[in-house]
């Protein structure tokens, strides 16, 4: 990342091969853009959402990718503030992944609101008592910070750095990156928490409601912890996949192991707190509101979801990655990180969709939700967009500082 070094010549695939690769993902992106166009032009009647399921696949994906994108702020915090040096190997990749996740999430949110052109009202007429206001303010500001963090990486490009002004902007931005890392950490803490708070404060939805400290329900803290646990897991997974796809070693193997260990440790702590929260909610909070714990799990959203979340995609990967020998094997490393990410996706799904499926009014019935192809297309487009941005970044930017050394 330092500007003093000269970027070595890195070996990349042929332009033709790269274009074929891009077009595959471009098709996915185009399909999603068509779906988005239909939703914007014809309205949200194109989705599977209704007056019961006011949030659906998009909010689930939004919450999930914002949590998984936390690798950017957490790695930045560890590297720039706590000076954990081995993260230098992949801090650039973590920033790009974070940028993709946040920009993708904001893009999806824009389609998800009924009146996209009025989106700025949440700034202009901000209701400061709403957790969603906090989320909107923080993710917008944080995307701006991520763009700033991404800029030096772009300006390090050989062609661009030939311009002295670009070169110095990149260097100077890098010089005070600690300030942006700190601001990013602050913003991320609040919006990750507020995303959890958004559901935790719904005191009229007993499945989601949690007690807490001051204005913050326990879900506020659980979402922060789960995000900083899963963010590094996704970073590990993406870097490992990049190595496999490109056939090159991009970071030291020990760096991936250390990151996975960090992720597993945090995830383990999260699971303990999550279990305590679940026990308290099931035995105290929900019954006070007139709900027996078992009543929440019906139809397609049965008790198996809780089992999957806490054990299969919870305890299992956490314990697996805490075993040093398991971390040394690629298979267990990847399965562990993948399961942690899936656990977080499942948690966000449960908080979003299951919360809305449970009837609170005694005359209402348990309902199920199925997304339409337009919703799947937009969600898939975020993946397509992400792969394209990441591929371009890998090809034209110096994402992995040790790439040259490790492949010499």
């Amino acid at each position: 990342m330092t500007s003093e070094h000269t970027t070595p010549k890195l070996e990349r695939c042929s332009r033709q091969k790269f274009l074929v690769w891009l077009s595959v993902w471009g098709l996915l992106l185009a399909w999603g853009l068509y779906g988005a166009f239909l939703c914007l032009f014809k309205g949200l009647n194109q989705t599977g959402m209704n007056n019961y399921f006011v949030f659906g696949l998009w909010i689930t994906v939004d919450l999930a990718i914002i949590a998984l994108g936390a690798g950017a702020f957490f790695s930045g915090f560890l590297f720039y503030i706590l000076k954990v040096d081995h993260l230098k190997d992949l801090i650039g990749a973590a920033v790009v992944i974070g940028f993709i996740c946040y920009s993708g999430a904001i893009g999806m949110l824009t389609i998800d609101i009924g009146q996209p052109l009025r989106g700025y009202f949440s700034f202009w007429h901000a209701n400061v008592h709403s957790m969603l206001t906090e989320v909107i303010f923080c993710i917008t500001c944080y995307l701006f910070v991520l763009t700033i963090e991404f800029t030096p990486l772009i300006l390090e490009n050989k062609r661009l750095s030939e311009f002295p002004l670009f070169k110095y902007i990149g260097e100077n931005l890098h010089g005070i990156m600690a300030v942006f890392a700190l601001v990013g950490t602050f913003l991320s803490f609040f919006h990750q928490g507020s995303l959890g708070g958004m559901f935790g404060v719904l005191f009229a939805r007993p499945f989601a409601y949690r007690t807490g400290v001051a204005i913050w329900p326990w879900t506020f803290f659980l979402f922060i912890l789960s995000a900083i646990a899963s963010g590094p897991a996704l970073t590990t997974l993406v870097v490992w996949t990049t190595q496999k796809v490109t056939g090159k070693q991009l970071v030291r193997r020990s760096t991936l192991s250390k990151l996975a260990k960090l992720s597993a440790t945090l995830f383990f702590v999260y699971l303990i707190l999550k279990a305590a929260d679940t026990v308290y909610w099931a035995n105290v909070t929900a019954p006070q509101m007139g709900f027996a714990f078992t009543r929440f799990y019906q139809g397609p959203y049965g008790m198996e979801l809780l089992f999957l979340e806490l054990f299969v995609f919870g305890l299992l990967p956490a314990v697996l990655l805490l075993i040093p020998k398991a971390r040394e094997h690629d298979f267990s490393l990847v399965i562990g990180c993948l399961f942690i990410c899936m656990g977080i996706v499942l948690n966000r799904f449960v908080m979003t969709v299951q919360t809305l499926s449970i009837p609170v009014l005694p005359f209402e019935k348990f309902v199920a939700y199925a997304p339409t192809w337009q919703e799947w297309a937009v969600a898939a487009a975020v993946l397509g967009y992400g792969v394209i941005v990441y591929s371009l970044s890998y090809r034209y930017l110096h994402l992995f500082p040790r790439e040259h050394e490790l492949n010499a």
């Binding site: 901000a126 400061v128 500001c141 700033i148 002295p164 002004l165 902007i169 601001v183």
Partner: protein
């Protein structure tokens, strides 16, 4: 967002929320302005240094060299 907005009412919540928000915005923009100014100064310093180096390497242009020296002295 702004006290001029229709129906805006200042209360403790607004003070805390917007206090923190504007602090963050100020921190980001101050840092960006610092980077921009420092980068322009760096570029200017480089240009000056290059000109000086050129001048000392090419004494056949005494007029330019004299000019540089005069500027530097003043």
């Amino acid at each position: 967002m702004l006290p001029t907005t229709f129906e805006f009412r200042w209360d403790a919540g607004h003070m805390i929320f917007f206090g923190v928000f504007y602090a963050v915005v100020i921190a980001i923009f101050t840092s960006l302005v610092y980077v921009a100014v420092k980068s322009i100064i760096d570029v200017y310093r480089d240009m000056t240094a290059r000109n000086e180096a050129n001048a000392s390497e090419h004494p056949e242009h005494p007029h330019e060299a004299t000019n540089e020296a005069v500027i530097a002295k003043s």
